[in-house]
Amino acid sequence: MLYRARDLISITSFGEAYHNKPYLDRGDAESTAEPVCSTACDGASKTQARNRYPLRLERLIGRITELSGPAALEASCGLLREVQRRRGVPFVWILAHRLPPFAPDLAANGIDPQSIPFVFAPQPVAAAQAAERCLRSRAFELVLLDLTNQATGTNRGGGDRAAAAQRIDDAALGRLLRLCRQERAALLALTDRHGDLAGSLVFTRFAAARRKGSGRSGARERGGSDSCESGESSADYEYRVTLAKSKTGRPGAVYREVLRGPHGML
């Protein structure tokens, strides 16, 4: 009890300074160990230089990249925004299931969902064939291959054997990689778990996790812009993108960003 009271006194006395500190340098055990930084306008240029959004188009061109985990959608939003900002870089979203992203949420993340062509394939193998066709057409610079199965309890069945039968084989991955290099395009695969897209042909693997945050919204972190819909009835979360595998660099780098939950999800 005494310990908590002491903490309270220290927070009260350094209140303003505490709140102005960078979000990820708040004494979290992880933040000291990992090369992370916030997207906050904290003025810490060194931290900002280290903490850059890892999914940038020029780094994905000619490669197959896997982004796995429950926060894969949120993590890919930055890339999609970048692609849409650069006019003349069309991309296609190929889904191997019937659970597309909720378009108003994409729009809330600054992505125009009405200009995205969604291709619905019945299974991952067909989705890979569709991706191959799209790459071969030379029309797209980014192909987003959505292989998540979303364990909803309603669409999962058949066990590992069925999953193995639906897995994209190395030959198909090899063709995709060759097309990516040949056509100067990027293939980003969204998967459920790390390693779902098997094989050594995947150049970079990212793991995107999501967890409930500290309860302080991102808008307040950045100086309290009340014009933005911070949402009293929505909780704050954060997502982390961890570099799990890279053929050129050392894995382990983490990127974090504060995330607003949907309304009602406390």
């Binding site: 909720f102 619905f120 029309a139």
Partner: protein, 495 residues
């Protein structure tokens, strides 16, 4: 007895446009030659005419004084396609159809002999009118003796009706009453003639011909000659539209898709050779008659209208590869939907294609639709509504223009940086959910959503179902609701 019937499909371009977008009929709307600001107005409805819009104006000029006007382009290919449908309909009642060059809405049907088959010339003309109406167009039919006279009388008529001219004198008398704006197209010539007090075709005929060409131009002189019966309106013979259908019954039933493709190739080659000049295949329907008397239809749409057999065969191959045909095929029939070929489709050399273009994307989507089904490629349209599944409408995009993002969404986001939001996934239509799946986790909610109380009320209690609340790392949740009216749990999506 009358010789010819003029079928005047007045404001043809506008009628074609309103067939495409029927909701615009209640609003001021214009049909344009192209979808560009500099395009000419081909036709306008009465509401637009009240605002001052006239055919021949540029769309940019119209927008200056009537920005509320609804407008869309009607291509020559589309006009030609509908004209061919009307011509094919008229050929059921006559043996010769002529069309007016430059005006696809004006057709003449030969009445000789056919009027007696229907009992009277008026009954025959009414048959013509009904047939055109069945095709979705309104027309004025004038049964006359000359093309010029019947056309002028039909152009001057105010309402869609059937009119029968009794004699040549009757036709001349009616022509003489026709106002000048229906006869002389040049506005400048009309203004000059109006200064002389000439406001009808009859008054124009009274003028001496010697000075007409030098004072008013060659077109006025030509009208003068036509009104006196010295020459006729130019007309072009409209050939009987080719029925783009080919069928074949192979000697042995076809078992494999390769055999079907081979037979289809033979049919396609025969069909393409019979295509009318300047026509291309916009869509192709393959009908397979199976041994168990069943039928199977496959429809493919190429990215662009084409007459290349290889392109169509490639799409057919993609479609048949995934199709399961468990019965032998006893007969094949292909039916093509034709459209006018654009000029660039007949260029000798292929142009240098830019690195990445929307055209390539459209071609890729056509191939994907052929292999995965027509619903394979879809675009989202955001609609303001309370229910989540109705906020998103899925539609099939047609052109490459869909690929360019709107800046407004990005601009809104740019105003509030750093406000990333969790992205949910939602089923296209909610799925039923078994209640026992919601036992172990934690339900967050409820949030009542009640809407559409004025027609079919819908009351839902929305929850987020967190599957593993103890785990800090994973916050995956189901987005579910309980339908109070149907008394069942539904799965909206996932978080």
């Amino acid at each position: 007895m009358a010789h010819t019937a003029c079928c005047n499909l007045f404001e043809f371009a506008l009628q074609v446009l309103l067939r495409r977008v029927p909701d615009w009929e209640a609003h001021p709307c214009v049909a344009l030659a192209h979808d560009t600001p500099q395009a000419r107005v081909l036709g306008c409805n009465a509401a637009a005419a009240e605002l001052g819009v006239q055919p021949g104006m540029r769309y940019a000029a119209v927008l200056e004084f009537a920005p509320q006007v609804y407008a869309a382009g009607v291509s020559q290919a589309e006009l030609h396609q509908h004209q061919q449908r009307v011509i094919a309909g008229l050929y059921a009642l006559t043996d010769e159809v002529l069309c007016k060059p430059g005006d696809p809405g004006v057709l003449w049907a030969n009445a000789a002999g056919f009027a007696l088959l229907q009992g009277s010339p008026r009954a025959w003309a009414q048959q013509l009118s009904m047939r055109i109406e069945r095709l979705g167009f309104r027309s004025r039919i004038v049964l006359g003796f000359t093309r010029f006279g019947s056309y002028l009388v039909s152009a001057a008529a105010q309402t869609p009706a059937v009119e029968l001219l009794q004699s040549v004198e009757d036709e001349r008398r009616k022509v003489a009453e026709v106002p000048l704006h229906a006869v002389v197209t040049s506005r400048q010539s009309r203004r000059r003639l109006a200064r002389l007090g000439i406001r009808t075709a009859g008054a124009l005929v009274q003028l001496p011909r010697s000075e007409l060409r030098s004072r008013f131009g060659a077109d006025v002189e030509l009208v003068h000659r036509q009104a006196l019966g010295e020459c006729e309106l130019p007309a072009q013979h409209a050939a009987v539209p080719v029925q783009p259908v080919a069928s074949r019954r192979p000697p042995q039933p076809l078992i494999s898709s390769e055999q079907i493709l081979l037979e289809t190739q033979l049919l396609l080659e025969a069909l393409v050779q019979c295509l009318p000049r300047g026509e291309c295949i916009a869509a192709l329907t393959l009908q397979l008659s199976l041994d168990d008397r069943g039928q199977r239809r496959e429809r493919i749409v190429p990215a662009n209208p084409t007459e290349q057999v290889a392109v169509l065969l490639r799409l057919l191959r993609l479609r048949l590869e995934r199709a399961v045909i468990d019965q032998p095929v006893s007969a094949l029939r292909i039916e093509a939907e034709l459209c006018r070929a654009a000029v660039q489709q007949h260029q000798l050399f292929r142009e240098t294609v830019p690195e990445r273009s929307g055209k390539q994307a459209v071609e890729a989507f056509a191939a994907l639709r052929a292999s995965l089904g027509e619903e394979a490629v879809r675009y989202v349209q955001l609609v303001p509504h309370h229910l989540p599944e109705r906020r998103v409408q899925w539609r099939q995009g047609a052109g490459s223009q869909e690929l360019s993002p709107r800046g407004s969404v990005q601009a809104q986001y740019a105003d509030c940086p750093g406000t990333a939001q969790m992205v949910r996934r939602a089923f296209i239509s909610p799925q039923p959910l078994a209640r026992h799946l919601l036992r172990s986790g934690k339900l967050i909610g409820p949030y009542l959503l009640s809407c559409d109380w004025w027609q079919s009320p819908s009351r839902r209690l929305y929850y987020y179902y967190v599957m593993s609340p103890a785990s800090d790392e994973s916050t995956s949740a189901l987005w579910v609701y309980y339908d109070l009216d149907r008394r069942r749990w539904m799965l909206q999506g996932t978080v």
